[in-house]
Amino acid sequence: MHIWFSVTASSKLLVILGFIFSNSRLKLLQRTEKQNEEEKGKNKVTEQNCLRSKQMSRRGFSSTCKLQGSHGELSSADSVTVHFINRDGERLTTMAKEGESLLEVVVNQNLAIDGFGACEGTLACSTCHLIFEKDAFQKLDAISDEEMDMLDLAYGLTETSRLGCQVRIKKLMDGLTVQVPVEVSDIRSQLEVGKQSKQ
């Protein structure tokens, strides 16, 4: 507060204007359809929304994050719908091309999944680990030894786990839902936050 009085009039005006127009970090802001189309017309999850809703979700609010923007870009002939359930439960829905790997989908669609695909699809890490539903899992192409070797290092490994960089989209995967695994350390920190009761 004491800073205010030592500042020039024009700066004060800037502050007031800035305050009016600024995006509050704590509020969930709804972006207009127009603003989304301005985002280079690509199919993109509104990253800001997802990030903010992610912050809210860490405190126990659930939220959904829908893809906005034109769907007309990809012809329905060669694209499928894929749902990624992010670590805090938010659902990221996107279109994907046949033949794309799930890692490529995440990267190309700029999905807000932290730390996904560190080694850029070269089977040198396990950060693109995804969990499938049982019937979808069984329809996937066979896993190689090399993939299994890296998958073995993944957190929260399940019987229906695969590495996203090794799974390619097929037509029959339309409507596929995959889960981004919750990291072991995430669980521990959620428990800690509960104990500290900062609210």
Binding site: F19, R25, Q55, D114, A124, D149, L153, D186, S189, V193
Partner: protein, 469 residues
């Protein structure tokens, strides 16, 4: 910068955050903070002129894909709210206290620059090296450039059963053609070309079920051309059964060792047993007691090992000496028993026993505004994904404290504005990220002629001269 600053809440300022260390921990922590906070400025300090820590100096030269993370780190460093300051040694050129005055939060991510020692007689004999120094040597870490390891003996002994041990075995025995096209230093390549080492033993105190290395690295070693794995089937009796219900990773790893132990020597076309020039093997339940000198007392000629038995099961099994001893003849010993962090500054609490900074979720115990991430927080274990998750956790603590008011951002802090003046007054000239990019370009250009991704510059003075410092 100022317009963005004033766009925040009434009276609050852009948080300025300092990260000490530019390896994966430092960069992932910075990345996460920048991604989830619209205004924060993050400055990354590094004692060497060049960034990236163990990604540059620890990951083996023949594992270039693991180094792909450098791309995302570069992207972070180039973003407008991030700055890199190399050639600044925190704890010497500037204190943590001074950083805490200049920044709203300081994150210590400086890793583990030292190694554990065995503490046995003969450990200082010529021919005995820490794995850390050896890896630093072939990866061009400036402090290890003059190691000049003696590779004139036939048998090398590596103490330890982790991935670093396997890396060293692989580098010692790889066909030279494999290494020639990597970013291994020229000097190391020349030394390896002259190397007489044809047999490498990896000895560990405990058994096959306690090995710390992972299956990808083991498989790579088993498949290394021109080499023969030597595993004693007797070491694996009954283990097939023991891992029947183990978690898949442990099970597959053990099964691979069993399979390799029981396999007849490979009969590759045109390659008889005698023609395979190089061997490597795993020795279990052997604990080093003394490094034995040559008659003239100058070099190591062997290691006396105590045979052990295991008490307990799985990860918590303990190796207990049986009383029996064995001597293993070797002329090169590499001690690969773990890295170790060092205390940085009297202002920072340090748990000497565990070699970590005491913390809770990355918040340094008893020092508000101070955080830690990576190996200095958790201990020197894990691969990049481990460090990544850990760094995101610490970053989350910082973000929570910014949001919750635990970090008081109503007080404006100068960040590098203050630190830069202090450094100048002490004659320290930081290296910027674009300076690094000049060094990077020079290394890549030098490597091109030899068909290598880069030829690393190993002399910090040469790096500084290159950028006109």
């Amino acid at each position: 910068f100022w317009a963005r600053c004033w766009a925040g809440h009434w009276g609050s300022c852009c948080p300025v955050i300092c990260v000490v260390g530019s390896g994966p921990a430092g960069f992932y922590t910075a990345q996460h903070i920048l991604k989830h906070h619209d205004l924060a400025q993050v400055d990354i300090y590094e004692k060497l002129p060049v960034p990236f820590g163990l990604v540059r100096f620890g990951v083996a030269p023949d594992h270039p894909e693991v180094k792909n993370v450098i791309n995302t780190f570069t992207h972070t460093a180039r973003s407008d709210r991030c700055a890199y300051y190399g050639n600044v040694t925190v704890g010497r050129d500037i204190t943590v206290g001074e950083l805490q005055q200049a920044y709203h939060a300081v994150v210590l991510s400086y890793g583990a620059e030292d190694n554990r020692v065995l503490g046995i007689p003969g450990e200082n004999l010529s021919g005995v090296y820490s794995a850390r120094a050896f890896v630093g040597w072939y990866n061009g870490l400036p402090e290890n450039r003059d190691l000049k390891p003696d590779l004139s003996c036939e048998t090398a002994l590596i103490l330890g059963h982790g991935n670093v041990a396997l890396d060293i075995a692989r580098i010692l025995l790889s066909p030279l053609d494999f290494l020639r096209k990597t970013d291994i230093t020229d000097c190391s390549l020349a030394a390896l070309a002259r190397s007489k080492v044809k047999r490498v033993w990896l000895a560990g105190r405990r058994g096959p079920l306690q090995v710390a290395f992972t299956i990808k690295e083991l498989r790579e070693m088993i498949n290394l051309p021109g080499t023969q794995p030597v595993l004693n089937p007797a070491d694996f009796t009954g283990l097939e059964n023991a891992v029947k219900d183990a978690p898949r990773p442990r099970k597959r790893l053990t099964e691979l060792m069993i399979k390799t132990a029981l396999e007849k020597p490979r009969e590759k076309a045109a390659m008889a047993q005698a023609a395979i020039p190089r061997q490597w093997g795993l020795k279990f339940q052997r604990s080093p007691q003394e490094m034995l000198p040559t008659t003239d007392g100058t070099r190591v000629r062997g290691v006396r090992m105590a045979l052990t038995r295991l008490e307990g099961l799985g990860d918590s099994a303990k190796a207990v000496p049986t009383g029996d001893m064995e001597e293993l003849e070797c002329g090169l010993v590499l001690s690969s028993i773990g890295y170790r962090s060092l205390p940085l500054d009297p202002a920072v609490p340090f748990d000497t026993q565990h070699g970590v900074i005491p913390n809770s979720l990355g918040r340094v115990t008893g020092v508000p505004g101070l955080y830690c991430s990576g190996w200095v927080k958790r201990g020197p274990v894990g691969v990049i994904i481990t460090t990544m998750n850990d760094s995101f956790d610490t970053a989350q603590s910082v973000l929570e404290d910014l949001q919750g008011g635990v970090l008081d951002v109503s007080i404006s802090r100068e960040g590098f504005g203050a630190v830069g003046s202090i450094l100048r007054s002490r004659g320290i000239r930081p290296v910027s990220f674009s300076d690094w990019e000049k060094i990077d370009a020079a290394e890549v250009a030098r490597g091109k002629a030899a068909g290598k991704p880069r030829e690393k510059i190993v002399d910090p003075q040469e790096m500084l001269q290159l950028i006109g410092h």
